[in-house]
């Protein structure tokens, strides 16, 4: 195991990358499971109910029971579906959410290893390109189901996600104009040395946040699966583990987009006090940074869930109107204003 201390050896790189991938997966999967549970408990609290509290202490083992139930239910494939796409669609909807996490710095350093799986210098472009692939799972599911409600859900999803992707991308541009680099690690460095970007770019943050709701198909923009009109939209025909994959994909996408917002606007793994603004020098410091990051992500998850039980669903034309006629011009204006301010500072 000597090569582990030799940072130039390719084996070291491979070993630590694999380790980080496994660790990230091992953290995100339970987070997905417990977000579902949190959603159920929180919605119950908001509606003055109790929620699932039977399995384990305070119902904490509920995700385990849910998972077991998904596996044991009959995996029914209707005869009228297009088989190949019907089977691959749930997987396709889940993969992009996990791929996004690859470039997000989830901690500073531990030993000599930077706590990011892939330190890409086009980090954010990678994220957006992967996020843009997320639509395929839903579209294919809707089409492969070969019946009308899923189909309408799929069509709605594709239009909605393409529209809000543009607003989302445009909203993030001023951030990178200020930072001067596309690397997400540099974005965090910039925020650690000054103020968090949410204070410098509040408009960008609001647009990004709303677009994030639309991208993950969460209420108030859950039109692809709106129960009242489309039964359950694109996943109507799915059962058992295939349905659970869609469900998990949605929560994984929420975690990924929360992590992205934490990185872009809320300083990533840094905190402006307790000296947590600088890269860790000890293992304990490294762990503290990771916990700070996870804590921030958890706050966003609670926010996501809270909104769902507070705000009614938009109409489809309102959704499109908001995306194209309000947010896109606003984001463009924000870019121009930021450019003007940067220009004046350089005069």
């Amino acid at each position: 195991m000597d090569f582990l201390n030799d940072s130039s050896h390719w084996g070291t790189f491979l070993f630590f990358s694999a380790l980080k991938v496994v660790m990230a997966f091992a953290v995100v999967m339970p987070m997905v499971a417990y977000s579902v549970m949190l959603e159920r408990r929180l919605s119950a609290a908001i509606q003055d109910r109790i929620g699932p509290n039977r399995v384990g202490p305070f119902g904490l083992l509920q995700p385990l029971a849910d998972g077991l139930k998904s596996f044991l239910k009959e995996d029914f494939t209707p005869s009228h579906v297009r088989k190949v796409y019907f089977i691959i669609a749930p997987a396709v909807s889940m993969i992009p959410a996990f791929l996004t996490i690859a470039v997000i710095p989830f901690g500073s350093v531990m030993g000599t290893q930077a706590m990011v799986i892939a330190n890409l210098n086009v980090g954010i472009l990678y994220t957006f390109s992967v996020v843009s692939l997320g639509v395929y799972g839903i579209v294919l599911a809707g089409w492969a189901s070969n019946s009308k409600y899923p189909f309408l859900g799929g069509i709605r999803a594709s239009a909605q996600m393409i529209s809000y992707e543009i607003a989302m991308g445009m909203a993030a541009v001023p951030v990178f104009m200020l930072v001067g680099d596309l690397n997400l690690g540099k974005v965090i460095e910039y925020q650690a040395n000054g103020a968090w970007l949410v204070f410098k770019q509040p408009i960008a943050f609001v647009i990004f946040l709303v677009a994030a709701f639309a991208e993950t198909n969460r209420l108030p923009f859950d039109l692809p699966e709106s129960e009242t009109e489309l039964v359950s939209g694109y996943n109507t025909e799915y059962s058992s583990m295939k349905f659970a994959l869609f469900f998990m994909g949605e929560y994984a996408a929420m975690i990924a987009v929360s992590a992205l917002m934490v990185t872009l606007f809320f300083g990533g793994w840094t905190l402006p006090f307790f000296g947590l603004n600088e890269a860790a020098t000890s293992i304990a410091g490294g762990i503290a940074h990771i916990l700070v990051f996870l804590g921030k992500v958890a706050c966003f998850m609670v926010f996501f869930i809270w909104i769902r039980w507070m705000i009614p669903r938009f109409r489809y034309d309102q959704l499109m109107d908001l995306g194209w006629r309000r947010f896109l011009p606003l984001a463009l204006a924000n870019i121009i204003i930021t450019a003007a301010i940067l220009w004046m500072q350089h005069l």
């Binding site: 390719w10 472009l125 692939l133 579209v139 089409w143 799929g154 069509i155 594709s158 996600m161 393409i162």
Partner: protein, 166 residues
Amino acid sequence: MQELLFYIFSALTLICGFLVVANPFTRNPVTSAMFLVLTIVSMAGLFVLLNAFFLAAVQVMVYAGAVIVLFLFVIMLLDVKEVERQHYNLFGVVLGLLGLLSVGGMLIKAILASGVGKDLHPHMEGTTKDLGMKLFTDYVLPFEIMGVLLLVGMIGVILLSKKNLR
């Protein structure tokens, strides 16, 4: 390692590209579109091997993420049934061959003129900053013309789709 990846990605690009136009198993347009996505993603892999990360990311974002989703959208909305067996007509075959030969000729000429294997640059200069500098200094006129062209195209589409806009 890099060579191995190059062969994998090239093979994937070629195979998927072939399956887009001539899939022996199905003539379903959605399958073609999905293979086009795979072709584009494996081409992005080739860009990454050239260190052109920006191009790779943009390739996936624009083509796989937006353009082909719109293709799918249209295919699904129009509900294109499996394309029927085409009966070939002589005119089409001759025209197609002519097009193939001329494009192939141009390609071969370009490859020969570039001098394959002579002074190789191991990396493309593909950082975002370099690209931006080039676009806004040396190539600013073509860049602006392209922008105007896209704008004209966009206005044209809006005009065509809104029939009552007089």
